[in-house]
Amino acid sequence: MAESTLQPPVALTTADGQPLKTSLARVERRARIRAFALVVPLLIFLCITFLFPIGQMLFRSIHDPLVVDLLPNTIAALKDWDGTDIPGEPVFAALAEDMKKGREDRSIGKVATRLNFEQSGVRSVITRTARRVAKLEEGPYKEAFLDANKAWGEVETWATIKRLGNRFNTVQYLASVDRRFDTEGNVVMQPEDRQIYVPIFGRTLWMSLLVTACCLLLGFPISYMLATQPLRISNLLMIMVLLPFWTSLLVRTTSWIVILQSEGVLNDILVWTGIVGEDGRVQLIYNQTGTVIAMTQILLPFMVLPLYSVMKTISPSYMRAAQSLGAPRFQAFWKVYAPNTLPGVGAGSLLVFILAIGYYITPALVGGRTGQMISNFIAHHMQSSLNWGLAAALGGILLIGVLLLYWLYNKLVGVERLSLG
């Protein structure tokens, strides 16, 4: 460095007179393009199968165009409505027009379903009223509506429609954290008996932490064995660790059902040895305990492999050095060996935790009532309730949570210290 600053600032050129920098840039660009061409297939694959669907999901969680597109006149007419009293005739007329059109192209059901997510019962109010309104040639509509269903005389119904009058809104995200808009447009908690997602997020977090801790507790000693034992023993151990990896996830989960169920192997042994009585069989499955046990076993390799690969690189001479410097075995282990396994501990824990937090199939099969996690509810909204917007918002929160965690990890430990072996 010192020498180069002493050089006079003369622009260097190549033998044929081109500026050296341009020439260098050209050579490097060619190499870069070649390198880029090699990753293009993967990039396209990732874009189509990974980034694009995630983008779609996030988009869907805030993009809510149904009401705006299908009740355009109503939304326009409601623009100046102050929300204190039921709106006047022009709004009813606009809604009637939208409904007639909706009846014609069979789109009114979509609006009704969407609104019903916000306010139960609105679906039948709209479809029934629409059926009646379709027969009306002309106004006044207000009377007819009020006559058709008393829900049209309630401010809440109109507030619900107006609230969805934005193509982009955060209604689904609010719902994902057990909150909603009241008629005045304030964010309030859901009624207590419908508060579900925050506790489930909490439980998901807690169970994932528990699984991570169990994996670490079980995985650390085995990884240490793997890294320090002679090849013959460590190979055997490695096979035992990896064996579950080569078995289908469903097989593993169902074999846990066989072992843990109340008439299962483990309970039979407990009864047989007299530890518990015949009527005191322990409920080990279809609850949180079963889910944590099965997930710990399934995710264990994801803890062991990074730990092992890091421990393998820790020279045994560190422990010896520490001992020769006067540290007893345990102190040497704790002060010198353990800190060096941190990248592996971090990588393993992060991997297990991220996998656990989005785990679906195992909780679905052995989770019973108390072992369900957030992914099971996302699946519910994807498959049964068809509330894809809410499913997307729940997924979005999960994604943000994981990214946050990753950021935190990067801040505390540094991602460059992450070692997956």
Binding site: Q323, S324, L325, G326, A327
Partner: protein, 364 residues
């Protein structure tokens, strides 16, 4: 720094086996004096590192005693032996700074903070790394890491320091520099050093005494000049320095200081009997290349033979000359690059001569 007569370390009839079938160390008896710099030299697998590890406490002897300062070490765990150690790849703790690495042995000894600080500073100054305390080991060059490892092994003032091929990873120039530095530190501190290496020039440079290991046995324990000048068996002669071998049979001994050996080519050589079984036994004559005279005057030396120059290799300070003599065509002579010796050519016929003392009759 004088070496005391008192023994600090004593190995008595030590044997070591890993698998219960073969002995890695066979019946080792070795005393190391306080303040001595002793090197264990040998090829890999010769048992030198195992011996060092038994002394450090990471391996336990299968049989026999290891004593340090009169105390039997067999059941003393490594951390209570108070032995400093420098490892092959330094074994600096990567998650600690240089300062923390040096403070580690002091902290586990529960020294006060100020005491730790003074000692670490002194140790760092000793290896000329005063300003490097906050660096991580990975930010240091190989030579600097080596010095930190050295400082760490010395900072808690152990009576004995073990070094397990500490310079193996350095380039030649740095290695030679560090050899001298370690030698000077040893001299100024008076600490006892047991040093393991397979590099003979390193051993020759630094040691008070060298124990040459082979096949689990100390082949010879001697000072560097003795080892080079007076190897006691064929292995040592071969292992230390360059060596010409002439195979033959002892015809008869002429008193203590001479014997006549008939080579396989039929030539008769006068040699110094060192390690022979007596008349009629096979022997290997060992002759250093620099102790051979080219073109001696007739009768000036007891052994003079005709030879033919096969190859000349120019090495600057001397010319390595391969000649054919007494039926051996791999006989090497080092010819000093002095003005008088400029005339050799390949294929030339010359005369070679050597004295009785320089031609050692060893076990075959």
């Amino acid at each position: 720094m004088a070496i005391s007569n008192e023994n600090l370390v004593e190995f008595t009839e030590v044997q070591k086996s890993y698998d219960g079938e073969t002995l890695v160390v066979k019946d080792l008896n070795l005393s190391i004096a306080r303040g001595e710099f002793l090197t264990m030299l040998g090829p890999s697998g010769s048992g030198k590192t195992t011996t060092l590890m038994m002394l450090a406490g990471f391996e336990s002897p299968t049989h026999g005693d290891v004593k340090l300062d009169g105390r039997t070490l067999n059941n003393v765990p490594p951390h209570k032996r108070d032995i400093g150690m420098v490892f092959q790849n330094y074994a600096l703790f990567p998650h600690m700074s240089v300062y923390e690495n040096l403070a580690f042995p002091l902290q586990v000894r529960k020294m006060s903070k100020s005491e730790v600080e003074t000692k670490v500073k002194k140790a760092l100054d000793m290896v000329q790394l005063g300003g490097f305390g906050t660096r991580r080991p990975s930010q240091l060059s190989g030579g600097q890491q080596q010095r930190v490892a050295l400082a760490r092994a010395l900072v808690f003032q152990p009576t004995l320091v073990l070094m397990d091929e500490p310079l193996g990873a350095l380039d030649k120039q740095l290695r030679e520099h560090m050899q001298l530095e370690i030698k000077h530190i040893h001299e100024s501190l008076g600490v006892t050093v047991v040093y393991v290496t397979h590099d003979q020039s390193e051993a020759l440079t630094m040691s008070n005494r060298i124990a040459v290991f082979n096949d689990g046995i100390i082949q010879q324990l001697a000072s560097p000049p003795d080892l080079y000048e007076r190897p006691e068996n064929a292995f040592v002669a071969q292992f230390i320095g360059e060596n010409n071998k002439l195979m033959g049979k002892v015809q008869h001994t002429n008193g203590e200081n001479a014997c006549t050996v008939v080579l396989d080519s039929g030539d008769e050589v006068q040699a110094l009997p060192v390690n022979i079984a007596g008349a009629g036994s096979a022997t290997l004559l060992s002759l250093r290349p620099e102790r051979v005279t080219i073109g001696p005057e007739a009768g000036s030396l007891p052994n003079i033979f005709d030879a033919e120059v096969q190859e000349l290799i120019y090495l600057g300070d001397h010319i390595r000359t391969r000649v054919k003599v007494c039926g051996h065509d791999d006989f090497v002579v080092k010819v000093p690059n002095a003005q008088a010796h400029a005339a050799l050519r390949e294929g030339a016929a010359v005369k070679l001569g050597w004295s009785i003392e320089d031609c050692r009759a060893l076990d075959a």
